[in-house]
């Protein structure tokens, strides 16, 4: 057990600055979250259609103007609706989408807890 802890500590010390997701370009990350409205189910990143290229230019300009991701997304949803974002925003109409799984998780855990026999095996 001590060895294990020791190893874990070494492990975490050695990789301090690494909790962030891969240093993907912010630009690509945004493109990947946007639906190419002129294509079938493709992301902006995967498409070279005129629509995608034009929209990429617009987004690039906004990035150069130091706008935040949130500003860019609200600009897009104001014009095209939430449909354009692959990652649905948390708001009133999507509450169930985000929190129903959590509800199932908690209910399941309660049932699991109730049906579990703790302590040493009572059969032996």
């Amino acid at each position: 057990m001590k060895n294990l802890l020791f190893l874990l500590i070494i492990f975490f010390l050695y990789q301090q600055d690494s909790f962030a997701l891969p240093s993907q370009d912010r630009e690509v990350k945004i493109y990947k979250n946007i639906r190419c409205l002129a294509c079938q189910g493709q992301t902006l990143n995967d498409s070279n259609s005129d629509f995608a290229n034009d929209l990429k230019k617009v987004i690039k300009r906004k990035l150069d103007n130091n706008e935040t991701d949130q500003q860019i997304y609200s600009y897009l949803t104001a014009r095209y609706g939430d449909w354009i974002l692959f990652n649905p925003p948390v708001k009133q109409s999507t509450l169930l989408l985000w929190f129903f799984p959590v509800f199932i998780l908690v209910i399941g855990l309660l049932i699991l807890y109730k049906r579990t026999v703790f302590g040493k095996s009572k059969l032996s």
Partner: protein, 631 residues
């Protein structure tokens, strides 16, 4: 002529099915022996459906354009292979295949269960016939595959070119053999409940009929994923597209079922839960068909954009679900197993936790798939639910799941067995951490999620390898190879997905002939292009030289212009490099002078993903090898 015989066989088959249902009710309500030809009638109804299917295949192969389905989906220019596969590349043909498989499973059931209790046997066939009958009516009344057209056209409209692919010949039949196959265990459940034989023996019997379709479904999903990878040209292997999810939902439910039925078999527990999972698995399979066939979704699979048919299917699903639930509620109370709780750290406890996590995953996939549809129906608001939603919610639980998959099999039935395994598990943890540290050093990546993904999947893989390597006193025949292979396959799958996620590279650009475009360690030169004439398409092939660390590879993606129907497709060019792929797809362009857009992907360890699909499928197959210590 063939079309008449085809339709007549379908009609006779449905009359026979109805007759079987009547014979059953006569026997149950008025007593007296069951008609001696009950099973023979069922087999006859199966053969008639098979005949009708073969006739439809022949009509497609010989391009009989007097049939609407052939006219709309075939063309004489099409290669033989795709004329053949075109049979199920349309709504009517695929529904006929659907029914053929329902019927086939009943036929197989009769062949392999000759020793089975008579009443359970014929009641199961009764339920299977009911399913077959309902869908036959649907087929004949709303989607007759042999409907005729007059005057007879000289030429057909052709098949969507994206479906003209060798894998299309295999993908739909396997997928159907999978999820339609769950109809049999569904009928077996209802049969067991009605005849009061839903007990431990039932679980032993049902196992095979869950493993069989599960194996097909696993393989079918794998094929679909591989097809999407090389045919769609988007570089990925899974897009969390609603159509993919439609096949994933019954897969998750049936995976939970495989495990819960084991608990029922060994410990007489989880009777109610297993019954519910059985119903859920089949209903989700039907629901998947509804999603794909109703035209609600816009995709290559949705050939029938006819809302009326969608309503019919929805009605049938509701009918089947309700009937099953009524039977379950009326009959299950008498047939309950051991109601005691689950002992912490026993084998059955770990399986219950497995089911808990699988149901959670199922909830996420189901709600993510249906929420946008429901929202647009009720509020006219449209949202998209993409990969980020699923990845964000599911990823943490996949890690926990891997650990549990490694620990669970070491636990003993009915006994808290944590203490006796403590040293073993500690050594698995240590060895997986050491290997992870090495991997992390070699690949120069210290991201926390990366390390977690690698460590957890290695933990599972090591626990499987240990079981295989160090249990020398066990004879080869006693190994549970089914579990070892499928669990190892899952470990490799998550390992491969983690590696792929962190080390893949992609970029899109537009290059002119002769130019070179560079990205990180890759330099791509558009060196040449030429055109070629295929059987039913013209092809523009581009030649790209890719330099990576001094090595040169040539890739030749292309754009095809199909003539019937007139449509463009982009064919990818892929070159493997050990487990990774270099991958290029070209964009359609009307004006090549301003350069052609390409998408370049370096897909790290993607071949390990295909390999793990194969391992999991092999695991399913090995469940049919009788183990020595097995009943």
């Amino acid at each position: 002529m063939t079309s008449n015989i085809g339709l007549i066989s379908l009609i006779i088959s449905s009359i026979l099915s109805l007759f079987i249902l009547i014979l059953f009710f006569k026997h149950v309500l008025f007593g007296g022996p069951l008609h001696s030809k009950f099973f023979a009638l069922y087999n006859a109804s199966f053969f008639l459906i098979a005949v009708s299917f073969v006739l439809l295949v022949i009509s497609f192969v010989v391009s009989d354009f007097s049939i609407v389905a052939v006219y709309e989906n075939s063309h004489t220019d099409k290669p033989f292979f795709y004329k053949f596969a075109g049979t199920w590349g349309n709504h009517e043909g695929s529904m006929l295949l659907f029914i053929l498989i329902i019927s086939l499973y009943g036929y197989l059931f009769l062949i392999f269960t000759k020793q089975l209790n008579f009443s359970l046997r014929f009641t199961t066939i009764f339920f299977q016939t009911s399913l077959q009958f309902v869908f036959l009516l649907f087929l004949i009344l709303t989607s007759n595959p042999f409907e005729k057209i007059f005057p007879i056209p000289n030429q057909g409209l052709g098949l969507n070119p994206i479906l003209q692919d060798p894998l299309l010949v295999l993908h739909p039949p396997f997928l159907y053999l999978g999820y339609v196959g769950f109809s049999l265990v569904f009928s077996l459940l209802l049969g067991g409940l009605v005849t009061n034989q839903y007990n431990q023996n039932w679980a032993g019997l049902a196992k095979r009929w869950i493993f069989l379709p599960w194996t097909f479904l696993t393989f079918g999903i794998g094929l679909g994923s591989f097809w999407a990878y090389y045919e769609l040209g988007w570089g990925g292997y899974w897009f969390w597209d609603p159509v993919e999810n439609a096949s994933l939902m019954p897969w998750i439910a049936s995976t939970a079922l495989i495990h819960s039925v084991l608990v029922m078999d060994k410990t007489k527990k989880l009777f109610n839960w297993t019954a519910i999972l059985t119903i859920l698995t089949f209903v989700l399979s039907l629901f998947g068909t509804f999603l794909v066939r109703s035209g609600i979704l816009n995709s290559v699979h949705a050939f029938a954009n006819d809302p009326e048919r969608g309503l019919y299917i929805l009605f049938i699903i509701s009918l089947i679900t309700l009937s099953a639930l009524v039977i379950y509620i009326l009959k299950s109370a008498k047939q309950t197993g051991d109601e005691n709780g689950f002992i912490l750290f026993s084998r059955e406890f770990s399986i219950v936790v497995n089911n808990y996590l699988l149901i959670f995953a199922l909830t996420v996939v189901t709600i993510g798939t249906t929420y946008p549809i429901l929202l647009s129906v009720f509020t006219e608001e449209s949202i998209s639910v993409g990969p980020q939603y699923y990845n964000t919610i599911l990823a943490p639980f996949v890690f926990i799941f891997l650990i549990l998959m490694g620990i669970g099999p070491y636990m003993k039935w009915n006994k808290n067995s944590f203490a006796i395994n403590r040293n073993k598990l500690t050594s698995f943890v240590l060895s997986s951490l050491i290997v992870t540290a090495l991997v992390s050093l070699i690949l120069k990546n210290q991201n926390f999620i990366f390390i977690l993904g690698v460590a957890c999947s290695l933990f599972l893989i090591i626990s499987v390898v240990y079981e295989f390597a160090y249990f020398k006193h066990i004879k080869l025949k006693q190994f549970n190879f089914a579990r070892l292979f499928s669990h190892a396959g899952f470990g490799f799958l998550i390992l491969a997905i983690t590696l792929h996620y962190f080390f893949s590279k992609e970029f899109t650009t537009k290059i002119q002939l002769g130019e070179t475009s560079s990205y990180q360690e890759f330099a791509i030169k558009f060196s040449n292009y030429f055109s070629k004439q295929g059987k039913n398409y013209q092809e523009l092939i581009g030649e790209y030289e890719i330099q990576k660390n001094g090595e040169k590879v040539i890739l030749k993606p292309s754009i095809r212009k199909y003539s019937h129907p007139q449509q463009f497709t982009s064919e990818t060019s892929i070159r493997g490099e050990w487990l990774s792929d270099m991958y290029i797809a070209m964009d359609y362009t009307s004006d090549a002078s301003s350069g052609i857009g390409i998408r370049f992907y370096y897909n790290y360890s993607i071949r390990l993903i295909w390999l793990s699909y194969i391992l999991i499928t092999i695991g399913g197959l090995l469940s049919f090898v009788q183990r020595k210590n097995e009943k």
